[in-house]
């Protein structure tokens, strides 16, 4: 079994800055992010992008791990329906997204913390808007704090 | 989310609670906690100035909150989820839950499905009863209450009755469990119960296997009864022990009976008899809320059942106290007989020997259990012989919208109640579970207290006392949190004797080898 060590809490924990992990597909959304760069657009610096070849590679485990490891939000970016570089990958993503959303809701994680966006290579502005909007929504929700929670669990019994 | 979902309250729950509280307020309250029980026994005994036992505490620490976390689960998962309440009697929970589902979906299973269920259930009863006699309760008698604890276990029994018999015991139990697995999927935590029937038909091969073992089972049951008679009834000390006032309580009894008022484990009406042995009431299980209530004490996780109309009068016996008892002795007390010939003979011998109904001697549970063992074995044979058993139509698909359902069976340790309410999608909104041993918890409390008071005089505690106190609750085969099965003798006990200021005068500790240490 893989050892799941919990990260220590941020030091110091000043004003809340949402930490968002993004999974972008190599052909659409990652390129849109590149284009946003070459077009010198400006957006919130809270997102950390993990590049995958296709949004279809996003294993729900990745999303849950991100939350468990302290992400306040998770964003998946893929090609528009019908535009998948691998023909159908993004449909699989869409289906998993819907089911995972239901699970997260049952686990008390707000809808706005988990988001799927179709952003084509040309839609840099769409990316900018999506990121900014998500950061604001998550900021409004406040920290997810799953990590400290897990520690609390450790606390309550170590007498 | 379930905890927020109280929008459309279900009438029965409201009324049930309302009535109960009204009844409660009408009576005088005496909170007089006397006993405690834990998964592992711990008894704190407090003496008064006179050095007499003033109080003994005995409690259950486990609480897993099934009633809560089943909220939101699909009702059809309940048979499998609730069987995890107890890994020793999973089939009882599985069956009670399954029956609750029939009731929830208002669906009548095909006759063959009922037979298959009862076949599995009877096999399970036989298996569980024999487990208790040989592994848990029996050694007290087979080897004697005062035998060194290290010997008072199944291996000791084997030593006494011979390895061959010992192997026979183990093999018999294994075969029974294998049979259960054949039909139910798994022996521990079965999977076959569904609303309106069972998941799988019985193949001719399976039926054959049941038939082959049925006779062995009966022989085994008879042998066990003979063993009991030989070892226990032939021994006047044991008989006196059974009859002694220390182990006697005059309470109500409850159990399930068929149309002919004979003992039935799987289905029927609940019958309650008074301490005098008259029928107090006979009611369909669905009406349990009008007749049974649970009392909460701040010092124990376990709740104490009593007859609601009679009311809670504290830990007292007699006709005006609502405390009642379940399990084998209770079942025999409330019934007019057994549904199978050999068991019926054993039944008659039981009462004639013990001076007629009702029998109030707690330790008689061991004997009663063996009468039931014989009945279960005979029932297995009857059902296994049924030509209809292999009928492939084992399911009726439910069509009604689920709302509310109650399911009751007689678990080895007594009446077991499952009561669910769901939304229209069949997701559990509320669940109420009355586990068999809970029905006994009040009487058990009294037994331990009585044993303590009867046997302990001052700081000087004779070692034999320990097991005799332990016997007082082991007779019930207690299954608190349905997880407290412990081998006799290795059931470690801690007894502290204290003065009225709580100052420890003496402490006796028996370790898992049964050696007693004075500290």
């Amino acid at each position: 079994m893989r050892n799941r060590q919990l990260s220590p809490p941020p030091v110091p924990r000043g004003a809340f800055e949402p930490r968002i992990v993004a999974f972008f597909c190599n052909w659409c959304t990652y390129l849109a992010a590149d284009l946003a760069g070459t077009s010198r657009m400006k957006y919130a610096p809270n997102v950390r992008v993990v590049r995958l070849m296709c949004s279809g590679r996003v294993d729900p485990q990745f999303v849950l791990d991100a939350f468990a490891q302290g992400a306040d939000g998770v964003l998946i970016g893929g090609c528009h329906p019908g535009d998948c570089h691998y023909q159908e990958g993004n449909y699989k993503t869409l289906r998993r997204y819907h089911l995972l959303k239901r699970v997260l809701r049952e686990m008390g994680i707000e809808e706005d913390r988990f988001r799927l966006e179709w952003i084509s290579a040309a839609e840099a502005d769409r990316l900018r808007i999506a990121v900014n909007d998500m950061v604001e929504k998550v900021r409004a929700l406040g920290p997810l704090d799953l990590t400290p929670k897990a520690e609390e669990i450790q606390e309550e019994v170590t007498v | 989310m379930p905890e927020e979902k109280d929008t459309n309250p279900h009438p029965a729950w409201q009324e049930g609670a309302a009535e109960a509280n009204a009844a409660y307020l009408r009576r005088r309250i005496t909170i007089d906690p006397i006993t405690r029980l834990e998964g592992h026994g711990k008894i704190d005994i407090f003496l008064d100035e006179a050095g007499q036992v003033e109080r003994a505490y005995f409690q259950v620490p486990e609480l897993r909150g099934f009633e809560k976390f089943v909220q939101g689960r699909p009702a059809e998962d309940m048979p499998q989820i609730t069987s995890r309440i107890c890994g020793v009697c999973p089939t009882a929970h599985h069956m009670a839950a399954t029956k609750a589902l029939d009731n929830l979906y208002r669906v009548e299973p095909p006759l063959v499905a009922k037979k298959i269920r009862e076949l599995v259930y009877s096999t399970f009863m036989a298996e569980d009863h024999s487990l208790h006699f040989y592994f848990l309760g029996g050694p007290d008698f087979v080897l004697g209450p005062d035998a060194p604890a290290a010997e008072r276990n199944v291996l000791g029994v084997i030593g006494k009755v011979g390895v061959e018999t010992g192997k026979k015991v183990i093999a018999m139990r294994r075969r029974w469990r294998e049979l259960i697995a054949l039909v139910a999927g798994k022996a521990a935590h079965p999977v076959f119960g569904l609303p309106g029937g069972v998941a799988k038909r019985v193949t001719p091969e399976t039926q054959k296997q049941f038939q082959e073992i049925a006779d062995e089972g009966i022989e085994f049951a008879k042998f066990t009864l003979q063993l009991f008679e030989k070892v226990v009834l032939a021994n006047t000390d044991y008989v006196n022990l059974i009859l002694s006032d220390t182990y006697t309580h005059r309470t109500y009894y409850m159990g399930m009976v068929d149309k002919g008022n004979r003992v039935n484990f799987y289905d029927g009406a609940l019958r309650v008899s008074t301490p005098e042995g008259k029928e107090w009431k006979k009611f369909p299980p669905e009406q349990y809320l009008e007749n049974v209530a649970e009392h909460v004490e701040p010092w124990s996780y376990v709740k104490f059942c009593y007859l609601k109309p009679v009311g809670w009068k504290g830990f007292r016996e007699g006709p005006d106290s609502g405390i009642y008892s379940v399990a084998p002795l209770a079942r025999l007390n409330v019934s007019d007989g057994m549904a199978t010939p050999l068991a019926q003979q054993a039944y008659e011998k039981f009462f004639s020997t013990l001076g007629g109904k009702p029998v109030h001697h707690t330790l008689a549970n061991h004997w009663a259990r063996l009468v039931e063992l014989l009945y279960a074995a005979e029932r297995v044979k009857e059902l296994a012989a049924d030509p209809q058993l292999t009928d492939p139509t084992v399911r009726v698909l439910p069509t009604e919208t689920p709302r509310e359902g109650v399911g009751v069976v007689e678990a080895p340790r007594g009446t077991l109640v499952h009561h669910y309410q769901t939304d229209e999608k069949g997701l559990i909104q509320k669940a109420n579970l009355i586990v068999a041993t809970q029905n006994n918890s009040a009487r058990m409390a009294m037994s331990v207290e009585k044993a303590a008071k009867g046997l302990i005089k001052g700081a000087d505690v004779p070692e034999g006392v320990l097991n005799r106190v332990e016997m007082a609750f082991r007779a019930y085969d207690p299954c608190h949190g349905c997880a407290t099965h412990s081998l006799p003798g290795s059931m470690p006990l801690l007894i502290r004797v204290r003065d009225q200021n709580g100052k420890a005068l003496a402490m006796l500790r028996r370790d898992f080898n049964g050696n007693v240490h004075r500290e």
């Binding site: 079994m1 849950l64 449909y91 699989k92 289906r95 819907h98 089911l99 995972l100 699970v103 809701r105 049952e106 686990m107 309550e156 019994v157 007498v159 | 109960a20 509280n21 405690r36 711990k42 109080r55 505490y57 409690q59 620490p61 609480l63 897993r64 909150g65 009633e67 809560k68 976390f69 909220q71 939101g72 699909p74 998962d77 989820i81 890994g87 020793v88 999973p90 183990i170 093999a171 294994r174 999927g185 798994k186 521990a188 998941a199 649970e294 009392h295 909460v296 004490e297 701040p298 709740k303 399911r395 999608k425 069949g426 349905c482 997880a483 099965h485 290795s490 470690p492 500790r509 370790d511």
Partner: protein, 328 residues
């Protein structure tokens, strides 16, 4: 005391079913009894505590601990046993993954107590009496163990050497585990002592699984007459088999009911629920949100189904209760 290897069985928050597995070794139990010295089975807390503390560290060859960690007593015992045992095995689903009682992590302590002692229709408690962990009863101080908010797996509390999966573990698996330990030829630390492939491999219905599965509707067992030969997924039932470790020989499927996942995931997967979710969702028919939701509506309780045994051991461990609930 003999020189035979000492083996201990201890239970925390569990149902006793794992104990039954030991009994279910049946005749084999005599061989086991011959080969090892069963030092506890099971044992009392206070008592055992003193007694074990007296033992030298690591003097127990192997402790099979079943049940999840729910109370401070259990927590302390787990730590103590860890100290005293050369090998500590998480025995059964509850200590391995959290088990069915781990579903309590969808609620908190208070709501559980409330339901059991206030809301039960048969309970008469107008004064709202609750069991107290510390209670003075005219001069007599009596205590109950503290009941935690969160159920945890054994390896979330102490270091675990091996895992014996199953609810309860198959006697065959336990027997094999004992053999392995006695053989002295130990597998790598952290190993789950069962085959490391999914259940389908040993499922009698494997061949009936269609190659091209597209699921337009999930069925609940009471909604159809379940064919006794055909793959249950192919019949639309949610079967955890593809995401569940083998070793039980598919007993539930042989009972004509779907696998519910008690053996946990394979060693290559960290979150069994997430994996079956990914697998099933990928096979859902439909490309439009509405179509997809329509199909997913037929899984009424995804968390309770995918995490039936594994919630405490999952990435998220427990429900976040201060989270704002989105409307269904």
């Amino acid at each position: 005391m003999s020189g035979k290897p000492k083996v201990a069985f201890y239970w925390c928050s569990s149902c006793g079913g794992c104990e039954e597995t030991v009994v279910d070794l049946a005749e084999a139990i005599l061989d086991v009894a011959a080969a090892v010295e069963i030092v506890f089975w099971p044992v009392a807390l206070d008592f055992k505590r003193k007694d074990i503390e007296a033992m030298p560290d690591g003097s127990i060859t192997a402790t099979f601990l079943n049940g999840a960690i729910r109370t401070n007593e259990q927590e302390e015992m787990a730590r103590l046993l860890r100290k005293k045992s050369a090998l500590l095995l998480a025995f059964g689903a509850c200590s391995h993954l959290g088990g069915i009682p781990g579903l309590a992590n969808l609620f908190d302590r208070e709501s559980i107590l409330k339901t059991v002692y206030f809301e039960s229709p048969s309970t008469v408690n107008p004064e709202n009496v609750l069991p107290l962990t510390r209670y003075r009863d005219n001069g007599h101080k009596v205590t109950l163990p503290d009941f935690h908010n969160t159920v945890r797996t054994l390896d979330q509390v102490v270091d675990v050497d091996y895992y014996v999966p199953g609810c309860p573990p198959m006697p065959r698996i336990l027997g094999a585990a004992l053999k392995t330990l006695l053989s002295g030829d130990l597998p790598p630390k952290g190993a789950v002592l069962a085959p490391d492939y999914a259940l389908c491999e040993e499922c009698p219905r494997k061949d009936t699984k269609p190659g091209e599965l597209s699921i337009a509707e999930f069925k609940r067992p009471q909604e159809l007459l379940i064919d006794e030969q055909t793959c249950l997924l192919a019949q639309g039932l949610v079967c955890m088999g593809p995401a569940t470790r083998a070793g039980c020989e598919a007993v539930c499927v042989q009972g004509n009911m779907p696998c519910t996942g008690c053996c946990g995931s394979t060693g290559r997967v960290q979150d069994q629920g997430a994996k079956i979710l990914s697998c099933l969702a990928s096979l859902v028919a439909g490309k439009e949100d509405a179509e997809i939701d329509h199909v997913l509506d037929t899984i009424p309780d995804p968390v309770g189904t995918f995490y039936r045994y594994g919630l405490p051991g999952s990435f998220l461990r427990r429900k976040r209760l201060n989270g704002v609930q989105a409307p269904k």
